[in-house]
Assembly symmetry: C2
Homo-oligomer: 253 residues x 2
């Protein structure tokens, strides 16, 4: 028996998120079905990140166990010929039998893309959110920097009864504008439900001047969802990669 | 009566190209229908570039004449609320009554995007073509440079009986790699049928070593389509902008 780890990229536009659920098509369901067809036995993967409906990924992680003899690195090729065009395995490799994708010490990096111009660009509509009007990039950068460090992010999470500990550590934020696209990257040891999208919704309020960058600390301290900005739309969000302890992040090429 | 010029962006994925044709949905047909609904009278636009099925545009140009009182700059807003998400007007403005979008002295710039990595990226599948394996970027740049100037491009055109003069001038080519994306931009005073796609197909052969950069001149001189490379897929191609005499190119913001 071996444990195989898959690095999974997908366009989340047409899926109800990662996690298998009744009455809605999910990325995990499609992947499990392709794996089961390939190995002619039911396979259930375990995913690292349960991305929401409409959220994209370049490097989500899934593992499964199999008795099959196929070398682990061949799964990427074998699955990519079976998967629909909006899901592609980027890498497959054997990992230790006790490797768990939701290991508590993972470090995740997300990117959110904001297209800041007068009119939408149809060719970039699936993985960015269009915002018209001036945004104060420097203020957004200052606000993002205030989120770095270990904080209680209760103000930046949709109420989720399963989670009681709302303290997380943000290692780094980066926000910059490339031509007309604002790119925001955030790296942390865990993210609460909708946390990145609420952070982005708040940064947009800062960009518009409705919230001051200097107010971010007070919003964190309030531990009150209503003090933060709205939840930004899912389609601008992409899970870039997940890093495990003692592993280098590898740019998939 | 006034003549209104529209700068039109579209994702060509779901269209049989720009030009109205029977039994297939085109960008022009959708635009004409929206304009006719808006102005409550049949409107037929005249387009600058008849992009092929699957080709995208950020700045195609269309004009129409109208007696309506609406200020020309309002058409962009009015049409964008009616158009489907994959077509967006970027600018609307009044032009001289004798302005013709297919004016012979236009200068067009196209971009072709080649995603050069091991596996496809689902989030960029609609506007780039995935190529696996090493490509010699420097050789592709040298080959592209050989196309600059005034040449007979017969070898780089699909046979088209309507065109007898196959001499065109390429003012500039640019080819560079940004992370895993090869971007190729080409600016010229006109392009024959499939010319950009055949040029890209040929540059890819050069990148793979199947054609030498130094052979481009001989391919031009042969005036023989069979000497050039295959026609690259439509989905990697975007019409960036069209410049008219005495007008600056404006980056739409």
């Amino acid at each position: 028996m071996k444990r195989v780890r898959l690095t999974v990229a997908y366009d989340g536009t047409n899926y109800a998120g990662w996690q298998v659920q009744p009455n809605a098509l999910t990325v995990q369901e499609v992947l499990d079905q392709c794996l089961s067809d390939l190995l002619k036995t039911p396979i259930h993967t375990m995913g690292a990140s349960r991305t929401d409906a409409g959220v994209h990924a370049l490097g989500n992680i899934a593992v499964f166990d199999t008795e099959a003899r196929m070398p682990a690195d061949k799964y990427a090729f074998a699955l990519n010929t079976r998967l629909p065009e909006d899901i592609r395995i980027q890498k497959s490799e054997e990992v230790a039998p006790d490797f768990h994708p939701r290991f508590c010490r993972t470090i995740k990096t997300y990117e959110y893309r904001i297209l800041n111009r007068t009119f939408p660009d149809p060719t970039r509509r699936f993985n960015s959110v269009h915002i018209y009007g001036n945004l104060d990039i420097e203020a957004m950068q200052r606000a993002a920097a205030c989120l770095e460090g270990t904080h209680d992010f209760k103000s930046f999470a949709t109420e989720n009864l399963q989670v009681t500990d709302t303290v997380r550590t943000i290692y780094e934020t980066r926000l910059w504008k490339e031509e007309d696209m604002i790119r925001f990257q955030i790296t942390g040891n865990g993210f609460l439900y909708n946390m990145v999208r609420i952070i982005v919704g708040t940064l947009l309020e800062v960009g518009k001047g409705a919230i001051q960058a200097e107010d971010i600390s007070a919003i964190l301290e309030a531990k009150d969802r209503t003090k933060a900005g709205p939840t930004a739309r899912a389609k601008g969000l992409t899970l870039l990669h997940i890093r495990y302890p003692d592993e280098e992040v590898e740019t998939v090429k």
